[in-house]
């Protein structure tokens, strides 16, 4: 069994990483008080932006094209998320509705444009190569588990997670951001511009989700086809599962990564192949539900999350 665990590890991590970075984005947004159900659409947008960029650049340059693609995805995600920010922060629209609109627009308009470009709506690219980290990958136990067959984007994401931790808990911006998610009136009366902080948080979430979509594209998928298979929603679940905390999210996304990789590989693993497929496939969702059942009563959700902030409204 350990053998199997070790063997699926790189794939589980590859699956978890885009979820993780997207959930980190969700963390910024929700901690500032804006529910971002549009993560799915933002991922699609990021994946699309990266795909177009890489498809254009790859013929003329090599691996740099992928990195440029990631940067473009980040920018595209951030810009596109401004639609959500505008509706939910400036216009005090229902955040769930505006997020749903984001999902629908992203799903439709990217494919519409992609079809104008490629005819089929799919865009194919050459993904990143995997590599073993020198020295570390030879370590006993963890070497195979964590440092073999890794993507560069994995380490980038983990770095961003660490940064998120410091930004949220150690910096002035983080303090204000968290306060906006709990009690925006308090922040406003302390002379801080709540709307500005929330705009920033939402665009960070857009940037992260865009990056997440692009990572799916540039690691295991290699093709844009107008969807990210519900991973945006799963990232949202991971955010709640992880109780809005950076390390909690890390745990939740890695759980999803391992659970779904086991589910997809089980057919080819003799030790697991006798377990009914339906049990393996539904396992991550059922566990998530159980976790929610256990923890929701004492939920640590940001108190003001989902509530529009209007200056002077009581």
């Amino acid at each position: 069994m350990w053998q199997v665990f070790q063997q699926i590890s790189p794939y589980a991590i590859a699956f978890a990483i885009p979820l993780l970075i997207t959930a980190i984005g969700g963390l910024y947004s929700e901690r500032s008080g804006v529910v971002n159900i549009g993560l799915e659409g933002l991922m699609v947008m990021g994946s699309f932006a990266a795909a177009i960029t890489v498809a254009v650049l790859q013929p003329v340059m090599h691996s740099q094209a992928l990195w440029i693609g990631l940067v473009v995805a980040i920018v595209a995600g951030a810009l596109f998320s401004l639609l959500h920010a505008f509706a939910s922060i400036s216009l005090h629209a229902d955040q769930v509705i505006s997020g749903t609109a984001i999902n629908m627009i992203a799903g439709a308009i990217t494919v519409f444009i992609a079809r104008n470009v490629t005819g089929s709506g799919n865009i194919q690219i050459n993904p990143f190569a995997r590599f073993d980290i020198p020295v570390l990958s030879d370590l006993p136990v963890v070497g195979k588990l964590l440092f073999s067959n890794t993507y560069a984007t994995t380490w980038l994401t983990l770095l961003l997670l660490a940064i998120a931790y410091f930004v949220l808990y150690k910096t002035v911006f983080g303090l204000r951001l968290r306060a906006c998610g709990e009690h925006p009136q308090a922040v406003a009366s302390a002379g801080v511009n709540v709307q500005f902080i929330r705009y920033l948080a939402v665009s960070i979430s857009g940037a992260c989700a865009g990056l997440g979509g692009a990572i799916i594209l540039t690691t295991y998928s290699g093709e844009f086809n107008g969807t990210v298979f519900g991973l945006g929603f799963l990232a949202l679940a991971a955010l709640i599962f992880g109780q809005w905390k950076p390390l909690g999210i890390l745990g939740a996304t890695f759980f999803f990564g391992y659970a779904s990789t086991i589910a997809t590989s089980a057919q080819a693993i003799p030790a697991l192949s006798h377990i009914p497929g339906v049990a393996l496939k539904t396992f991550p969702y059922i566990v998530t539900l159980l976790v929610l059942v256990i923890f929701s009563k004492t939920s640590q959700a940001p108190r003001a999350s989902g509530q529009p902030f209007e200056q002077g409204k009581r």
Binding site: Q7, I8, Y11, F15, H62, N116, T118, G119, S120, G121, N122, Q124, N126, P127, A129, R130, F131, D132, N149, Y220, S221, G222, E223, N225, T261, T264, S265, Q267, A268, I269, P270, S273, G277
Partner: protein, 344 residues
């Protein structure tokens, strides 16, 4: 692209339309092959082909797109895939001024194959996938000489099963007649269950490669793309492994070097959907559309095979495979389209 005005169906112009099944036009297999055949015909016979992608995969969705093509003036409608069987069954009655080609299927109502009917304006084309799988199996075995082989299918539908069964017979044939030593195990022959889950294809392939499988025959749409992606990643990382492609020549899908010349795709088990589509358009142009007939594309009529160019195969392997292909043509070798005595 410019604006495309209402085209009153001009009589002299061919109007050929295609409807994709659940995949897209560039699925690197079935749909793409069909479309390429139509596009080629379009350049040869000077018409602008059109394809529509249905919104869903229900009969109503297919009916709708057939009606759209018909009402827009398309008089030859080509549909790839068994999913169109029911829709073509009704359409051939309803739109008698149009011609229909169904690939991989037989028009019939509901679940009832006993009431199957190919209308006078319809041609049903099926392929001898087992022969194709056989040929690819022999070629791959000859090339590798020894090793462990696996198979990943998409859904367990007859066409995919025939690929699998033919493949296994090919491996056996090579072991028995050419002294190769290819081993196969039951745990390495499986159907993922979908044609779309790229990640699953990758994970399954990873399992097999880790267990020592050298070559995987992937007949699985996008799941197969996942298999190829995994092989590329491994080969790039210095652990070369191989894939056998399906439907069309998938060599270009498996490039692993910057120069795009080397590929992990050993060879491909092709069925010439492009040829079939092209032939049908041509027959309409020439006025000899074989309406009402069921055609089989097999080795005899060059309807299946492996690619003309196989950079990954040695010369001797290519020539031996050619011999085998001739024997198939001449009926000296027969490949069973049943799975008795084989894995899965």
């Amino acid at each position: 692209s410019g604006t495309q005005q209402t085209k009153a169906p001009a009589a002299e112009n061919l109007m050929v339309g295609m409807i994709t099944d659940s995949g897209t036009i560039d699925d690197r297999s079935f749909n793409q092959g069909t479309w390429e055949g139509i596009v080629k015909a379009g350049t040869d016979f000077n018409f602008k082909p059109k394809y529509l992608r249905p919104a869903g995969s229900t009969e109503a969705d297919y009916d709708k797109e057939i009606a759209n093509l018909h009402d827009a003036g398309y008089k030859l409608i080509i549909t790839p895939g068994f999913k169109f069987e029911n829709s073509i069954y009704t359409a051939q009655e309803k739109y008698q001024d149009s011609k229909f080609v169904i690939l991989d299927g037989l028009p019939h109502p509901g679940n009832d194959y006993s009431k199957a009917k190919i209308g006078p304006n319809t041609v049903a084309i099926n392929f001898a996938e087992h022969e194709s799988g056989f040929l690819a199996g022999v070629a791959a075995a000859l090339q590798m000489k020894t090793g462990e082989f696996g198979f990943i299918g998409g859904m367990e539908i007859p066409a995919v099963q025939r690929f699998n069964w033919g493949f296994q017979q090919g491996l056996k044939y090579a072991n028995n007649n050419f002294g190769t030593n290819i081993t196969i195990k039951a745990e390495n022959f499986l159907y993922q269950g979908t044609f779309h889950d790229v990640a699953a294809g990758q994970h399954l392939a990873a399992q097999m490669y880790d267990r020592g499988v050298n070559v995987i025959f992937a007949s699985a749409g996008n799941v197969g793309i996942g298999v190829i992606n995994e092989a590329v990643a491994r080969t790039k990382g210095g652990h070369p492994v191989w894939v056998i492609g399906v439907d069309i020549d998938q060599y270009s899908q498996g490039y692993y070097d910057e120069g795009k010349t080397k590929s992990v795709v050993l060879t491909s088990a092709m069925k010439c959907v492009n040829q079939a589509a092209y032939d049908m358009v041509k027959s309409v142009k020439e006025g000899n559309f074989p309406g009402g007939k069921s055609l089989v594309f097999n080795a005899k009529n060059d309807g299946i095979g492996i690619p003309a160019a196989n950079p990954n195969l040695r010369e001797d392997v290519i020539s031996k495979t050619k011999e085998i292909f001739t024997k198939l043509k001449e009926g000296q070798i027969t490949v069973a389209d049943k799975g008795e005595g084989l894995l899965r």
